[in-house]
Symmetry: C2
Subunit: 191 residues, 2 copies
Amino acid sequence: MARERKFTDEQLFKATKQMIIQDGYEAFTFSKLAAILHVSRGSIYKYYENKDELISEFLMYEMNRFLHNFNRLDKSGDFQTQLDLLIDFIFEQSNIHQVLEIIQQIPVNTTKRVENNKSRLNEYHIDMYQQFQGLIDLGRKENVIKSHLPTAVLLGMIFQTIAIPNHFNIPQEEWIASIKEVLIHGMLKKD
Amino acid sequence: MARERKFTDEQLFKATKQMIIQDGYEAFTFSKLAAILHVSRGSIYKYYENKDELISEFLMYEMNRFLHNFNRLDKSGDFQTQLDLLIDFIFEQSNIHQVLEIIQQIPVNTTKRVENNKSRLNEYHIDMYQQFQGLIDLGRKENVIKSHLPTAVLLGMIFQTIAIPNHFNIPQEEWIASIKEVLIHGMLKKD
DNA sequence: ATTCAAAGTGACACTGGTGTCACTAAAAAA
DNA sequence: TTTTTTAGTGACACCAGTGTCACTTTGAAT
């Protein structure tokens, strides 16, 4: 060690996240980030060659956190129990949706480090998808899921629901319970 | 009239749409747009004072087109028939989702024309929402919708499903049919 | 106390987008 | 044919972000 750092990775990633989620990939700049962290722009270049590299590192960090938490979930219950847990979990981690979208926006011509991160992020994504797929397979094995529905549709719908904007500020619990209800049993009364 | 124009509004909006949907609001520039249209950048300033104004006009154009088509839909059937038609329609107009998102990104400090367009877009949005709400009300009147589910959740889910990425390229028809099935009756077999 | 290594700074040259404007080009009206 | 009107051009000054680098600061090790 030599001199104390003026900002931690956590602070940097937190600021990055806020900025990117609020205004998008293109609006993220080293200048603004430096201002938030109360350091000079130059100091950030000590750790990241450019914006793409910084963002790809941020995404790795977020993805690791997500997968780590995901792996802690109880995988012992039956399909319905696990689905319930999964949906609750996804809503807790509701930013993962945005994270996955940002991955697509990393440009192509950059540094080795970025390319490396991009392919690792892709692997993670596939890995995550396969774990979810395992859950659907369980549902099929238990013979509770309508067998003609494609797995991609089921996962897509589960995953997409977290991004529904709750404009009317319906209480979180009611909101999630209602979404679960529709996903599992539909919006119509049984006849 | 004096001289012939080198590009039509339609061409301009088409290029704008492509650019914005692909790379986002911030990545849109007059330079790129001028290049696509094979004109000088300066000529675009003859019609739009700046980027925000151009994009807000583009959004008005898209929204008008959407509402115009929407008003052509047959509103005479019962709830299920109309819901079917609506979902098909939304999938046909799948970009409306992105259009609505872009509206939120127009910055605040701009020209009168932009502010004007922004508030009109908001009115349109509310108008559209109310029409959809009318459909849900019909479902409630017909007593086919589960009465405890909030309208916002039902509309949110219907609307959000068009944005599910079909990574595995499941045929459009099967894709839409499956989504309808889940929305209406859920993913589980009836017991 | 001196030295050293990492952290941080700010000035510099550069790039790409912005908005403007005097000017040119072309088509219709006179 | 000349005039008028609108479309289009490209050069200019400007701004904000980029990436670099010689330099300064700071804290720990010798």
